[in-house]
Symmetry: C2
């Protein structure tokens, strides 16, 4: 098993970060504009990225201002069954987001891509909360031929 790890600090409250992770509008502001579904525990969120498709995430756990945990229930084969975890804490004047996309069976090349792409989307989360403007798909940062 292999995990993608990231850490960012956002100059916004834990509640603001939590809202960006647990509402359809919040998620659409930094990850993909094409976000639909039910963000409550037990619900399924559908994230789409145009022709490449996207991901369906079941919301497993949420704790206001503290934690969000999803399980991938549909999408690329390598993603299915993996989990995406956001842990929040306050430190200095930042809300720290510890991100973990865990449970990859193998460190395939697609995992390398997703790791970098997650970093750019987390920087988009930081940007939307600090400046009001994120870079969600389809306006996301292009990192390679795989977009």
């Amino acid at each position: 098993m292999a995990d993608i790890l990231h850490r960012i600090g956002v100059t916004a409250s834990p509640d603001a970060v939590y809202t960006a992770l647990t509402t359809v509008d919040g998620l659409a502001s930094w990850w993909t504009e094409d976000t639909e579904g039910d963000a409550g525990v037990g619900g399924v969120l559908r994230f789409r990225f145009g022709p490449p498709g996207g991901f369906d995430m079941k919301v497993l756990e949420t704790e206001p201002g503290r934690q969000v945990l999803w399980e991938v229930v549909d999408g690329p084969e390598e993603w299915i069954g993996t989990r995406v975890r956001f842990d929040l804490k306050r430190e200095d004047d930042f809300t720290i987001v510890l991100f973990r996309h865990e449970g990859w069976k193998e460190p395939v090349e697609f995992m390398y891509h997703c790791s970098t792409k997650w970093a750019t989307f987390l920087m988009s989360l930081k940007a939307v909360l600090e400046t009001g403007t994120g870079e969600p798909a389809p306006r996301d940062v292009r990192i390679s031929n795989w977009h």
Copy 2:
């Protein structure tokens, strides 16, 4: 053991990317302006980031247009003995960089930070080769309270 993985694609030749990874001037253009040392196999490169310190890397292997491998010989305790690997290949109209910072003993919080920070530096590598302007330290992208 845990690894940081990233993948970017650069619209520059493998030789240009290789030069940015194997010369002091090239490394200073995207990672840190305070780069010194010997970039040849067996040499030691010293990367500094102001008060936080930096890293000394021994160059273990280089293959023009294909691969660069370093071992961390001085720096933060968590980094010592880890290896940093860049594998290059041509795909579509991009030079693909597969990056791996391998051999972390534990997935400590500092590893989360370094993963995101590596992503922003690799985007700086892409930027300097595509636009002529990178974001090396001390002009690097701030991602959190840990900078």
